[in-house]
Structure formats: structure tokens, C-alpha cells
């Protein structure tokens, strides 16, 4: 997504500089939500205030909204077709592989210190074997980060 954002926003429209977009991207990763959407909101807001932010966000989500809705409609209808059912059987195998790939890539990017490794394993174990809500695990990790920083044990 980043190369596309760079091309459209920096080279084609000159709305932001390359440094700015990298800054936005960094902030987009540290704020809740989808990174690409966050960058869009950021650029829109910087250019045209609140309305700009809202419109660029709407622009970013509209194609998905339309395309996915249409696909969902068809998929639910054609699920009973024999060929579609076989295709879905094969697709599931690929989805598993894609997801495995996502986790491995994310682990390589995010687990770079011992405390980070412990956070990753603890979150996995808690989510897997305890009824602790997902939201609570996220909040607890954030609090742990601040406490460890205060204790001088953790440098992000």
C-alpha cells in the first residue's frame, strides 16, 4: 500500500512530501485502526481540516464497500454449486498458508527484544487458553510497556 500512496500523493498530486508520508505512516501504525486508512485521514485532515479527513477516509473505504458487498452477495448464492464448493475447498488451503505467512512476517517485524517475545507468547497463551477478552490483553500489553519503560527495562 505504501508505494501506491507515495505515487498518488507525492508524485502525482504533490499534496505531501515523501518525508511527511513516512511520518504519517509511522503514526498510522501507532494509532488504532487500519494503517492505510489512517494515512488517508491524516493527509485529508492536513490539507482541508475535519471535512478533508472525513472525505479522504470515505474515499479510501468506498471501493471495498461496494466490491465486497457485491462479492458477498454472489458467494452466498453460489455456495451450493458443486464447482464453487470445490473451489472454496482449495481456497481454504491457500488462506491458511496466507495467514501463516502474515503471522511469521509480523513476528519478524514486532518481536525484537526479550520483553517483546514474552508479550507475544503471553498474549498467545492467554487468548488460546483463558477467557480473558482480547481488548484487555491489548490494554495490558500497553500498560506493561509503560511500566517496563519506567523501570528502565524496556526501550522501544
Amino acid at each position: 500500500m505504501l508505494p501506491m500512496l507515495k505515487y498518488e500523493l507525492v508524485e502525482k498530486n504533490h499534496w505531501v512530501t515523501e518525508d511527511e508520508i513516512l511520518d504519517y505512516y509511522a503514526v498510522g501504525q501507532c494509532t488504532p485502526g487500519i494503517i492505510a486508512v489512517n494515512v488517508a485521514t491524516f493527509v485529508g485532515f492536513k490539507r482541508k481540516g475535519v471535512l478533508g479527513g472525513i472525505f479522504s477516509t470515505l474515499g479510501m473505504v468506498s471501493p471495498s464497500l461496494i466490491i465486497v458487498s457485491i462479492l458477498a452477495m454472489f458467494l452466498n448464492q453460489f455456495m451450493s454449486n458443486e464447482y464453487v464448493a470445490h473451489a472454496v475447498g482449495g481456497i481454504k488451503i491457500v488462506v491458511c498458508a496466507l495467514m501463516l505467512n502474515t503471522v511469521v512476517t509480523m513476528a519478524k517485524k514486532t518481536v525484537k527484544s526479550l520483553p517483546a517475545g514474552i508479550a507475544c507468547i503471553l498474549a498467545f497463551v492467554l487468548a488460546m487458553f483463558s477467557p480473558v477478552p482480547t481488548v484487555l490483553i491489548v490494554v495490558a500489553a500497553g500498560v506493561a510497556g509503560i511500566i517496563l519503560y519506567k523501570l528502565g527495562r524496556f526501550k522501544a
Partner: protein, 186 residues
């Protein structure tokens, strides 16, 4: 609280607020939703991911649209998607005003430094859930170990990590999966 749109709003607003680290971070939350609502089954998540990965746009948004559509039709998709982006819309506009301070703040940095690996752990749990429903559970809820399917899945994973194939769009892999599925009658 019986209104499905209100429930969609509450659930997806929460996901938008706590799914930190981009699109894949929404998956653990989406795996958790069927425990509370009958909008879709856990076993549907694999299909949802396939649709989301092979359509343009960020997967998190695609997932929300698809989940919302399954729950309450076209309008449900719209409500879920807007609820998902609303928290970040608000947060970004606040942060945009204090960008430099926010970016370099040690508390922000250290908390996110721990949240990101934790989210990776959460996603790992969700991925296990997808493996379980897509491969290791029969439609009747019994355990199975389909050696061939598992090997095929690992084979695809291996292919994805070949240097020349790394840049391929997920949709290409999904298309390959569909063909393999039809040819081998999976």
C-alpha cells in the same frame, strides 16, 4: 440492544479502537464475534479472508464489510465499515495537531512497543482458529488430520516465500487455490 445495526456499531467501533497494527489485527476480534452474535460462523472466517485478500482495499475494511453484510445485508456492511474507521478518524485528527510530540513521546513508544508483539500473539491464536475450522474440524465438529491438505497448505506457504514469487498479489494464490480445489475435487 436488540437492534442489529446498533450492535454492529458497538462491536466494530470497539474493534476499530483496539485493533492496533493494521488490518490483520482485526482477525482475532472477528474470530471472537461468533461467540456473542450469530452473524456468521467461525468457519466462515476463512471464506471472508479469501474474499478480503483477493479484493482491492485494506483487508481490515474488507473484513468489516463482509461481516456486516453477513449480519444485516448491504446496510449492515456500511454500518460495520464506518464504525470500524470512526475511532481512528477521531484519534488521527487529534494526533495530527500534536504529531511531533506524539511520535516521540516515550510513553506512546513503549506502550506500542509491547502492544505490537502482543497483537502478533493474538493473531497467531486467530490463525490457529482458522486452521482448526478450515482443516482440522469436520462439518460435524469432529477432529480430523487431513495429511494431504496440510501438506498442500505448507506447500503453498513454501511457494509464497520463494524470492521471485514474494511480490505476487494474494489474489493470485487464491485463484491457484480455487483451481487446485476444482481439479482435485476438494
Amino acid at each position: 440492544m436488540n437492534n442489529v445495526y446498533l450492535q454492529l456499531f458497538i462491536e466494530f467501533f470497539q474493534i476499530g479502537l483496539f485493533a492496533i497494527g493494521g488490518g490483520p489485527a482485526t482477525i482475532p476480534f472477528l474470530m471472537d464475534l461468533p461467540n456473542r452474535h450469530d452473524w456468521y460462523e467461525v468457519s466462515d472466517v476463512a471464506n471472508m479472508l479469501a474474499v478480503s485478500e483477493s479484493t482491492p482495499g485494506p483487508i481490515g475494511i474488507n473484513m468489516a464489510t463482509y461481516a456486516g453484510y453477513n449480519a444485516a445485508g448491504f446496510l449492515g456492511g456500511i454500518v460495520a465499515t464506518f464504525s470500524l474507521v470512526l475511532p481512528s478518524l477521531i484519534v488521527i485528527m487529534i494526533v495530527a495537531k500534536i504529531l511531533d510530540r506524539f511520535n516521540k513521546n516515550m510513553y506512546v513508544k513503549s506502550s506500542f512497543g509491547m502492544i505490537r508483539p502482543a497483537v502478533t500473539g493474538l493473531i497467531a491464536t486467530a490463525v490457529w482458529g482458522i486452521f482448526r475450522t478450515a482443516l482440522f474440524m469436520t462439518a460435524e465438529g469432529k477432529w480430523q488430520f487431513p495429511v494431504l491438505l496440510v501438506l498442500m497448505s505448507l506447500g503453498f506457504y513454501g511457494l509464497m516465500n520463494i524470492k521471485k514469487l514474494k511480490k505476487l498479489h494474494p489474489a493470485v494464490w487464491i485463484l491457484c487455490g480455487a483451481i487446485v480445489g476444482i481439479v482435485f475435487k476438494l
